[in-house]
């Protein structure tokens, strides 16, 4: 079936030129070009779209209003902004509504790649229901303790950017939200920002404060409504897994940049669980077994979300395959593998089953790489980390 894409812009010249430059896609894409938000909603009511690409500033209903409405009525439709506006406040408004923010002028090739990417990501998902779930996500909520920490840090005049980065970097939701924001085209960074340190340094303390206090870029999560799961627990697990992933990467003599990437991937590996937690709180009457659903699908849901948000493929893959690293396209002991091992080792430690034979590792994975002998070394690296954490 063809991908249906709706393009919205109040400038006729833009719509016509886009139509021409995408004419070559006519066999794969079913495209519609509309000049107002009202026309777009009307068209969607007749036939839902897979993707909507909207301008931001338009007379009458602006891009934000349109996409907010689309998010409410058709959450599964992927929402892209293509705007020439560099006005941060209007764009901060959009960051919880649009999944990807591209800046004009945008090469038709880049826009095409972004659209194609959203459709490839869909293949990660095992059901349409999950796309709906992700589509409803705006900003992700943080563990309340972590949120209190960042608030205190931002209100403390003596706090440094390093302090802020440390707090943000240990929380999955804050990390995901802030990376989405700084990598949005409107923030003007040409090269992707891949570490929290750089993201925070790029924003600066004042902007960070404004984002958090004024724009709700970070939010405190409420009770999840899922038995036996809390954002606080997830926060602890996330922090430990991230530290473990970095330790494993370093013990394999990987570069510092690679270790940072492993850390980031590990911070984000359970982001899908936050999606389920948010959703369960919103819909307490969910009839299905949410815990089982979450356990089974959080990897694909998290990967789909980060993919839509424009995270680099390596991170998306590591999140998608953190239970099944042999499915990753990256050969050898890649990011997925590192996160997988770190995740399992931390689970084992917290469950006090370090002596258990069942490691929970994907059967045959390490053996296939000939790395099974490394497990004790990694285990030790992670243990020593625990000691250091306890000491601190």
């Amino acid at each position: 079936m063809n991908t249906r894409i709706v393009f919205v812009d109040d400038e006729l010249n833009i719509l016509q030129a886009m139509g021409r430059s995408f004419h070559g896609m006519r066999n794969e894409w079913n495209m519609e070009f509309l000049s107002s938000g009202a026309a777009a909603l009307d068209s969607l009511s007749k036939a839902p779209a897979d993707v909507i690409v909207s301008d931001m500033r338009m007379p009458g209903m602006d891009g934000w209003q349109l996409l907010a409405e689309v998010k409410k009525r058709y959450p599964q439709t992927v929402r892209l902004v293509l705007s020439g506006h560099a006005d941060p406040s209007s764009v901060m408004r959009a960051v919880g509504t649009a999944q990807l923010y591209l800046a004009k002028p945008c090469e038709s090739g880049s826009l095409k790649a972004a659209i194609v990417q959203t459709q490839m990501l869909r293949q990660l998902l095992s059901s349409d229901r999950l796309a709906l779930l992700v589509g409803e996500v705006g900003m992700l909520p943080s563990a309340p303790t972590a949120f209190q920490e960042i608030l205190a840090c931002l209100q403390n005049p003596a706090a440094s950017l390093t302090d802020a980065a440390q707090i943000i970097g240990r929380d999955v939701a804050m990390t995901a939200n802030i990376m989405k924001l700084v990598n949005s085209a409107f923030f003007g960074s040409r090269r992707p920002i891949t570490t929290i340190d750089r993201a925070v340094a790029y924003l600066g303390m004042d902007t960070l404060g404004a984002l958090v206090l004024g724009h709700g870029v970070f939010q405190s999560g409420v009770a999840t409504g899922i038995d036996g799961f809390s954002l606080e627990q997830l926060w602890q697990h996330t922090e430990q897994t991230a530290a473990a992933a970095r330790a494993i990467a370093l013990s394999e003599n990987l570069s510092g940049a690679r270790a940072d990437e492993a850390f980031l991937a590990a911070v984000l590996h359970d982001v899908g669980k936050v999606v389920f937690a948010t959703k369960a709180a919103a819909l307490p009457n969910e009839t299905l077994d949410v815990v089982a659903q979450m356990e089974a699908h959080h990897a694909e849901v998290g990967a789909y979300l980060l993919g839509l948000w424009g995270f680099p493929n390596s991170i998306v893959e590591a999140v998608a395959f953190h239970h099944t690293p042999n499915r990753a396209s990256e050969k050898g002991f890649g990011l997925s593998g590192i996160v997988h091992v770190a995740d399992r080792l931390v689970h084992l430690r917290s469950e006090h089953r370090s002596t258990s034979i069942d490691t929970g590792l994907q059967p045959g994975y390490l053996e296939g790489l000939g790395l099974e002998h490394c497990l004790p070394k990694w285990s030790a690296a992670v243990e020593s980390l625990d000691d250091r954490m306890a000491a601190a």
Partner: protein, 427 residues
């Protein structure tokens, strides 16, 4: 009561009163000398100070006796370099006196001083009594505020202009990409037709070649290309024209100011300012420009552009407050014309009007009704200073609640108006 006791009582009284007087005198002295305003009595006739507050010594370096020497005024305000200022002193008449003058420090630095006092004749000499205040620092800060206001408006303008340019760049790029791929497709079709031609001439497989030509046409979607390629080129030319207009206007708008006024075409200034500010008003207002014939007006064009921009931005904010998100457009009218010895430019909006309570304050520095971050409250204060102080014009407004506001800029054409104009055109 004896005379002697009466005498003692009177002596006591005198002592008491004297003490009281001294106390009062001391209080006034302390009051006068504990501010930065320097009390003085200037004997204009002899150019010397018969009294000068001790702050003057600390502020300007000259010891007290030098102030009191005849000709002291010539030292601090040399007649040669400040003939006009000195004339103000020479010609001042009895009554209040206000003046801004330069003043030379003992080390040669120049300060700017505000004088305020009263002039009167005392025993055949013209005496000026009052306070003088060193405002050099205040002036400098004022200039900094003006510069930062200009930077702020340049910053927001740059963002707006970037967006104005981004839009045509976006569609010109898309169109050109389309034409490029179309050329490849057309080439394939042409090759297929050449093969057909060859087949006809060499009596080869004409039917097969014709079929391949038809297929090539189909796969290239030739009809689409033939219809759209010329449109893509037209649209690109329009887009490039738009970019050129914006860039030209930006250049005109950012006209570097000279020290002396230069004759300028204010209608052109209005037009280029409207182009650079387009992003500010395009979603809230339609422009109605009624520009009459104007002579060239001597002015600092860059500053006049800033004033027009400030008024346009204020007008669009006023309209935006009314139309909000309705999608309706207000009306922004810009008129220009000659009125006697003046050129008048007016900018009208269809906003809410200026509330009665704030009308008197709108030209005050730092007064703003805009939310924090949207305005510094400097725009109108600077506009007035540019129009009134620098150009000898007037800036006023008429406003009506729920109807809108009109600002009127009046600039003197001046006698030098016509002559240099012709020179310039001839050159």
């Amino acid at each position: 009561m004896s005379a002697a006791t009466e005498c003692v009582r009177l002596e006591h009284l005198v002592l008491e009163r004297t003490r009281a007087l001294e106390q009062s005198r001391e209080m006034y002295r302390l009051m006068a000398e504990s501010t930065k305003a320097i009390p003085f009595i200037l004997d204009i006739t002899h150019g010397r100070f018969s009294h000068i507050g001790p702050q003057a010594v600390a502020s300007f370096g000259f010891p007290e006796f030098q102030w009191k020497e005849s000709g002291a005024l010539d030292v601090i305000i040399p007649r040669q370099s400040n003939p006009e200022v000195r004339e103000r002193f020479d010609e001042c008449e009895c009554g209040p006196f206000e003046c801004l003058t330069p003043l030379v420090h003992i080390d040669g630095r120049r300060a700017e001083v505000r004088w305020t006092g009263t002039c009167e004749w005392v025993e055949g000499a013209k005496m000026l009594r009052g306070l003088m205040l060193d405002i050099t620092e205040v002036r400098r800060r004022g200039l900094e505020v003006a510069a930062s206001q200009k930077l702020e408006s340049v910053g927001r303008l740059a963002a707006g202009v970037a967006h104005e340019i981004n839009t045509p760049v976006q569609f010109v790029t898309d169109n050109v990409h389309f034409v490029r791929t179309s050329m490849t497709d057309i080439a394939a079709v042409v090759l297929a037709y050449r093969a057909l031609q060859h087949a006809v001439q060499s009596q080869g497989d004409v039917i097969g070649a014709a079929q391949r030509a038809a297929e090539a046409e189909m796969s290239a979607d030739l009809d689409y290309i033939l219809e759209n390629a010329p449109l893509a080129i037209e649209s690109s030319i329009e887009g490039l024209g738009r970019i050129a207009t914006i860039v030209r206007s930006m250049k005109e708008f950012a006209h570097p100011d000279q020290a002396v006024k230069q004759p300028a075409d204010l209608n052109q200034a209005i037009r280029s300012t409207l182009v650079v500010a387009h992003n500010e008003y395009k979603y809230v207002a339609q422009i109605d420009a009624q520009l009459g014939d104007l002579p060239l007006v001597p002015c600092h064009l860059g500053e006049i552009n800033q004033v027009i921009l400030n008024l346009l931005v204020n007008a669009s904010h006023a309209i935006a407050d009314v139309v909000k998100d309705t999608g309706n457009l207000g009306k922004l009218t810009v008129r220009s014309g000659v009125d006697g010895e003046h050129v008048e430019i007016s900018i009208s909006d269809t906003g809410m009007g200026i509330p009665e309570a704030v009308r008197a304050k709108i030209f005050d520095p730092f007064f703003t009704t805009k939310e924090v971050g949207k305005g510094t409250g400097q725009g109108l204060a600077i506009a007035r200073s540019v129009i009134v102080n620098k150009h000898g014009g007037t800036l006023r407004f008429e406003t009506e609640c729920n109807k809108g506001t009109t600002f009127f800029i009046r600039l003197p054409i001046g006698e030098m108006g016509a002559a240099p104009v012709i020179d310039k055109i001839a050159a």
